[in-house]
Symmetry: C2
Subunit: 144 residues, 2 copies
């Protein structure tokens, strides 16, 4: 989560909503990315989507069942759907997202037996730091 927070801080400095994500296999980091929707002008460029694509590239295929993804904020429906679609091994996240969280808050796409994969989830890791970064970002924006 320290690495994911580092990525989120990079996003903050670039004027992007500060969310960061990393992937690991057996404790080894495979990829680390941050949200870059504004910079890339890409609606799908959330940290989780970018790190999933990098990871699939490193591993040479789309099935990521050996991978743990660590992200600072609870994934939205798009990203939670992508975790299921990639057959992710495990999700670890920091802060809950009351506005769009899809891994327990508004939806729980990671634990739906009707879909073709379920993802074990651990949440609440360093959630205050993850959440404070987002709160500062939006407070800064409103103050402008």
């Amino acid at each position: 989560m320290a690495l994911a927070l580092g990525q989120a801080r990079l996003a903050f400095d670039l004027g992007e909503v500060p969310v960061g994500a990393v992937t690991l296999v057996d404790g080894r980091v495979l990829a680390a990315r941050h949200n870059q929707r504004e910079g890339a002008g890409d609606p799908t460029a959330h940290a989780e989507m970018l790190v999933l694509r990098d990871t699939a590239n490193v591993l040479g295929g789309w099935r990521l069942s050996v991978v743990t993804l660590v992200v600072t904020l609870e994934p939205c429906p798009m990203c939670a759907g992508a975790l299921v679609a990639s057959r992710l091994g495990r999700l670890v996240y920091g802060a809950n997202d009351p506005r769009a969280g899809a891994c327990g808050t508004l939806y729980n796409l990671c634990a739906d037996p009707r879909l073709n994969h379920e993802v074990p989830v651990t949440s609440g890791i360093r959630s205050e730091e993850c959440s404070n970064l987002l709160t500062s970002f939006f407070a800064d924006r409103r103050a402008r």
Copy 2:
């Protein structure tokens, strides 16, 4: 939908699950893509995700509120989430997806007032052709 079906047939010929998508603004086609998860080895490479990214690239930004996306199959949670995240103007799809459909079947992510955007949806366009293509694809696979 004819163009989206053409893309789905291209996917079929490449051994990819045959789903195709196109985007339009005022009747003008902006992008056309098909599913290429296997070929690209990318878990996020559904037709809708690829066509959204191409479209944002053409329009120079991630807000796609003037865009209509036409796809042969009801979007999954990842893709439906991406339509919401891109503030899409309208979704038109062919066949319902009883296994993963997230625009009315298992979920309706396009019509959730808790999320920050709702997408008007028209469904059932040439649904039999869209669905038959998928049925043939999976029948072919099982026969191998």
